[in-house]
Symmetry: C2
Subunit: 113 residues, 2 copies
Amino acid sequence: MSNLENTQAQMRKGVLEFCILSIISQGEIYPSDIIGKMKDAKLLVVEGTLYPLLTRLKNAGLLNYRWVESNSGPPRKYYVLTPIGENFLNELKLTWAELVLAVDETTNKTQTI
Amino acid sequence: MSNLENTQAQMRKGVLEFCILSIISQGEIYPSDIIGKMKDAKLLVVEGTLYPLLTRLKNAGLLNYRWVESNSGPPRKYYVLTPIGENFLNELKLTWAELVLAVDETTNKTQTI
DNA sequence: AAATAGTACCTTGCAACACATAGTACTAAA
DNA sequence: TTTAGTACTATGTGTTGCAAGGTACTATTT
């Protein structure tokens, strides 16, 4: 993996959890569809990343799920945010806004090119 | 470490390299001053993180340094970007801009609270 | 009925990396 | 010569993204 791809991946990692919680907050959803939505937003995420992450967030009390039968394959786990998860997400929204400000402050000091 | 602090740290990690390269691009600088500048921007970074990171970037050909004697302690390593480092930084600027767009698109879909 | 394809969820092992911690070395002041 | 301040270095640990491989269910095809 090149340096650039690696660093770009690092950036994506940092916001993964935030984006996934946001997507779930927009309505009950199951993992495969989360992957699709992330892909649409150019934020690739794969199964091996998503499933452990959802389990972690569930164990932390931020998510819940319910099984829903599908008529085109195996049953699906539909996830929703718990109240704790909602609070958590709101904190992250603040954090993200502050981070964008901080990064722009740090990186835009020599725009006199 | 709480979930929130942990996730916030993840976000910071993702942009560390970008910010540090930006700071160095603004003029020759040594590690302790980089830490200071990052702190000013609310992007805390510690020695145990910064030194290995600088070594990595140096080995990747993105940075160079020269020793400069100090009259108030041990000599300092002043870092500068190589031409490769400049290109790399420009790519990261693009990546960052795209990431901000992608995250905002993903997270601002339900602002009808 | 058996085989194949498609979908969905799960697990294991590895590698990268931030960070805490401890250590070395240099200068200046007490 | 001891202490304090500054700067760079090294080691060990925990988290976590991801590749790779696996299980299980349904529907379709043969």
